[in-house]
């Protein structure tokens, strides 16, 4: 398991193979890799967004993420889990979060990655402040349920 909180922009498509190759226990054993990447949009709640600041609680963030992963490891048969999360100043199109799960079979990989992502959204102590193109800034008050609203 690996949890990384990073201040600099990262490319998940470079981080993923590098991490996979660094975990020797994966070699020949994984049949499924489920990857989720969350990226900063340039819009939210009807407004154009030109940037974001992501605050976190150092120490507790890592503790919570490790507990979430441990919880997933108890529910599914997982070979490796990687979570990378940005903090600080973020621009649209930049990845905010990467959740990658390696397992022998797809069901475990799919289900665990969704579980980890949803738990992260509700338990890991991160807070987003948006900077609006029209001027001003606002704290994001709540996470959505993850689906685009009808209409």
């Amino acid at each position: 398991m690996a949890v990384k909180i990073v201040e600099a922009a990262f490319d998940p498509w470079q981080v993923l193979p590098a991490h996979q190759q660094s975990v020797s226990a994966l070699a020949g054993k994984f049949g499924a890799t489920s990857v989720f990447v969350g990226t900063l949009r340039d819009f939210n709640e009807g407004d154009e967004v030109h940037g974001m600041h992501l605050e976190h609680y150092p120490g507790m963030t890592e503790n919570q993420l490790e507990k979430i992963i441990a919880n997933a490891q108890q529910q599914w048969r997982l070979l490796e889990v990687l979570v990378v999360h940005r903090v600080g100043a973020i621009l649209p199109n930049e990845p905010i979060v990467l959740v990658a799960v390696w397992s022998s079979h797809r069901g475990d990989a799919f289900d665990a990655s969704r579980f980890i992502m949803e738990a992260l959204k509700s338990q890991a102590p991160f807070w987003k402040k948006e900077y609006l193109l029209a001027g001003g800034e606002r704290w994001v008050l709540n996470n959505t349920d993850g689906y685009q609203a009808a209409g």
């Binding site: 976190h56 959204k121 102590p125």
Partner: protein, 77 residues
Amino acid sequence: MTITVHYFASLKETLGRSDDELSITDAITVRQVWQLANPEMPLPPNLLAAVNMEYVELDFLVADDDKVAFFPPVTGG
């Protein structure tokens, strides 16, 4: 005993500070920590609390050297 209190995000901005240090004589709950540190401000709705980086309910009893944290709902990911 001494307790450190940390505030985050919008709560930190509203209060205008990120930390408090409290000296208390009797064991008190997390709710009482808030009331002692912020006598002028009612408990915000949806307030989350942690002690030593673990989520707790507001009736959790704090101990010497504990680090209490108050923050709004989390919005990562």
